[in-house]
Symmetry: C2
Subunit: 562 residues, 2 copies
């Protein structure tokens, strides 16, 4: 549903109205002048109906010309007359009688267009050749053309075995003569992810980015990309990333639906900063205060209490963390699930392992083209996956031991009862890859010190380090970076209250009280689940230099637009 826009005050409206009239007149005048100029060029050309600027294509094309997508063009079209809508990417004048254009649509599908003067029908004038080859790159055009086989394959185009001999060409949406960022620049790997306009280069980002090829087109910064959002999105590399992201969501959803999981929508606006107080956004709410949800954790559990058995959600979560790194965003998309447990929390672990492996294998299979497009810009090694049945699951203590024994010297003293740091995680990723030949693995049985209050303590009473108990909780990693966190939750209200107190949280505090109450009000079956960071899964799978490249509109402490 859309909002009507209302002027804020009558006075302001009047003033704006006067200004508007003046400006509208000015704009109209400019438009008339432009139209006149266009007419001068075309009006005495016998081919004038075959080209020009148009608002609509209704009744412009031959009736027998089939409209096709570039991606669908194949040998069966050879010799036929077709209509194609596309972005005019490049043009080149060969002579006064001949020119070439490159047409692109659907990500990285492009084809060569040829425009050649002809005095026979269909008429193509020299002026028309000049006009077409003068169209600003990135204008949206509709052409009528005869499909022909070129003398030799057009290597610069994906559809290399066919070309379009253009007989009509209309500009539906003209691009300006100067673009804020060219397609060539938009297709270069981004090295600078800083949000600061003045500052050049960002050490962290710079280190991670590996330009695929030496090139003369300079790389634009992420800032320039976001300030030219349409060009950023049109670049084949971003189209490919967006398409891969779609598949990740789709596989997550369909895999779970096949296992009888039901989707639900947790709220974003919540009444209390229930999970950790520090990183939460607060806002005024009708004389009171509201918060933005940091995760759907409590709500997934309410669904289980409400008899929904197995649930998942896909939606935004928020972190008010002032971290200006290529790994952080203030808003990102969570893929979350929660399920009843019958006998053991490993049922949850297996579902999560299954869904992630299914996602990785699925996109390797379905998105081979897109992955190749991304790798041509951001080079990376394929993600090494374990053979079926040889998935790697280490306990936290086993992982720390591995790091102590086979990792870099600086980690020779890591403890089994303290959480891992990011550098430790990355180092472990390399050790695991060398030892087990996989970039994907699970670390289970985290110590209670490293987990929130709702994590279920191991029933066997296992302890690590100085008597710290372990939990039925785990993280999943790819390339040494965490993409999933999950585990069994406490479902017994007495046990839950005890853990809340032990973590130094007041069970009577806002949010916590309502949470506890739900467990006391009804019996809640044993359950567990996990949360996947969609942006990170996409970014780390592709080994992108920043998670911001995987997001549609990345939000950082310094960036809220577009």
């Amino acid at each position: 549903m859309e909002e009507s826009n209302a002027p804020t005050s009558k006075k302001g409206a009047k003033k704006a109205e006067a200004k508007a009239k003046k400006e509208a007149l000015k704009a109209q005048r400019a438009a008339e002048l432009a139209a006149a100029a266009a007419n001068v060029t075309l009006e005495d050309d016998p081919a004038q109906d075959n080209y020009g600027n148009k608002q609509t294509t209704a009744s412009l094309f031959s009736k027998d010309a089939e409209e096709v997508e570039i991606r669908s063009l194949d040998e069966s079209h050879n010799g036929k007359t077709v209509v194609v809508r596309a972005w005019l990417q490049n043009s080149r004048v060969q002579s006064a009688k001949m020119g070439f254009v490159e047409l692109r649509k659907g990500g990285n599908w492009n084809i060569q267009g040829v425009v050649m003067a002809s005095e026979e029908e269909p008429l193509v004038s020299r002026r028309m050749v000049k006009w077409i080859t003068g169209i600003s790159p990135e204008s949206y055009v509709a052409v009528e053309a005869k499909v022909k086989q070129p003398l030799e394959p057009v290597h610069s185009c994906r559809v290399s075995g066919l070309e379009l001999h253009i007989t009509k060409c209309y500009v539906l949406a003209p691009a300006p003569a100067m673009l804020g960022m060219t397609m060539a620049a938009a297709s270069q790997p981004i090295v600078n992810f800083s949000d600061e306009k003045a500052q050049e280069g960002d050490a962290d980002a710079g280190k991670a980015a590996k330009p695929a090829a030496e090139t003369t087109t300079p790389s634009a910064s992420m800032l320039t990309h976001l300030d030219n959002i349409a060009m950023h999105k049109r670049a084949p590399v971003q189209q490919a990333i967006a398409d891969i992201r779609i598949q990740v969501k789709r596989i997550f959803r369909s895999y779970l639906e096949d296992l009888r999981f039901k989707e639900f929508e947790p709220p974003c606006l919540i009444g209390a900063a229930s999970e950790g107080g520090g990183n939460v956004f607060r806002l005024p709410y009708f004389g009171d205060e509201a918060f933005l949800a940091q995760s759907p954790q409590f709500y997934k559990q309410f669904e289980i209490a409400g008899g929904r058995e197995r649930v998942f959600s896909i939606g935004p979560v928020f972190r008010a963390e002032n971290s200006n790194t290529p790994r952080h965003m203030t808003e990102f998309t969570g893929l979350d699930l929660e399920m009843e447990i019958k006998d053991s929390y490993t049922e949850v672990l297996s579902v999560l392992e299954g869904v992630l492996l299914s996602i990785f294998r699925g996109i390797q299979e379905r998105c081979a083209d897109e992955i190749e497009t991304v790798r041509a810009v951001y080079h990376s090694e394929p993600l090494l996956l374990p053979e079926p049945g040889k998935e790697v699951r280490l306990t936290f203590a086993e992982a720390q031991k591995l790091l102590r024994e086979e990792g870099p010297a600086e980690f020779a003293n890591v403890r089994d009862d303290e959480d891992m740091s990011t550098p430790q995680e990355k180092a472990l990723g390399e050790v695991v890859r060398a030892k087990y030949k996989t970039d994907f693995y699970v670390i289970d049985k985290f110590p209670e010190t490293a987990r929130p209050f709702y994590a279920k303590i191991d029933d066997a009473g296992t302890t690590v380090g100085e008597g710290v108990r372990v939990t039925n909780a785990f993280d999943f990693f790819i390339r040494g970076q965490e993409v999933l966190s999950g585990g069994q939750r406490i479902h017994n209200p007495v046990e839950l209250e005890e853990r809340i107190r032990a973590k130094g949280v007041d069970p009577e505090s806002a949010g916590i009280k309502e949470y506890l109450t739900t467990f006391r009000q009804v019996g809640v079956p044993a359950h567990g689940g996990g949360g996947i960071g969609l942006d990170r899964v996409v970014a780390w799978f592709l080994a992108l230099p920043s998670v911001h490249l995987a997001a549609y509109y990345p939000r950082t402490p310094k960036r809220l637009s577009p």
Copy 2:
């Protein structure tokens, strides 16, 4: 991803720790006492292994007993031993040797369980009969039972042709003896939707609710439902509504994916209150200010500018409107789409009409059971849909004329150049239903006065009333209530700036400037789209008395929990 919980201050943590220890001791003592009491009852019973409270069901059941869902039970199970997990809904003692329980799972699937003392294997003691029939309703149990045919069908249960002769019964999650809201109460129609605790009854809500049957169980207020969220969700009527909502989303998505629409995720956090300033939530953002998106409008258009061709999104939108009615929420789910237009905006209208009709026909077909479950509580007439090819599309002027001529006398003077009020819309719904035999219709060509600045003005220059131009914009209605708003957007930056000024908005203002810039930076093809309110579609399709019933966690100006 989950958040670790950190205590807010060291001092507070110490104090909380001391308190926690004390409380934990108390809780432990209580647990020990409860355990002791339970042991006293069971320890000298020869059948003691066949019942009791359990944390897990591992190795409790016979190896040959198949675990089945109640919904899957059929004649093929007759005579077999099965394991069933379910909510114990009711119990009844027949004699010291026999009792009945009602087991429920998967919304409204229930079956009768019989427990009969037996001295032969499998052993069922009288104490076991007493214990089972004494289990608090809404406890979560796992039973082992022999499936048998009852002497006559059990009319109170959906699985009426079979019953479970229970030989083992374990409580996995005990409900308390007193529920805050019983299942009987939770299954009554809600009449009072007020957020005020003191105030009884709400005129608007009360008028709309139509209890399906006279009953002695009193109806609980929406407040009581939300304060007992697990019981609210467990009620078959809410399970059915949730399942219908899932199908609506699923059909929306699959219908559009078949038409090559691509999903994307617009941001919630935005840098400017770009669409209408009044009803937007504001929040502090790292020394600056952020806003919560009121719609994905601008972002859908950026996707089109970015060459994504056809996009849709499903996600939360926010309105800071202090409206305490059963029609409003501060957070709801938008189903949005945007697409390139080839020749006419009616292409958009047709896709939207197609997707909504597909949703309505789809849920009538796929969710017949769920609809029946809802109607048993909230009575309604089936939604009348037009026959294929006989869809009703009226222009705004035609609709107003119809209302003047065939509507109630109070609307005899409605104007063609002023927006409709909610009572007008409802009255029109009745006129259309009487005349065209449909509850679903489109009103097209809204006057520019009733549409936001981005609405494209009709190319033919049509005017209504006192020279007001009409737009290529429309609303869709069911039962006289708007569920969709859409139309063609302006894609020419000169025209767009003119309309922005004409609406009294400053083109240099935050948000608007960036929006306009995108259209100037690149050529943007003609496009249009629409937004559907998911909560309203579900609520009005089922003729529910409040949209709050269709939401998972309704947010109102006075309610942010649970």
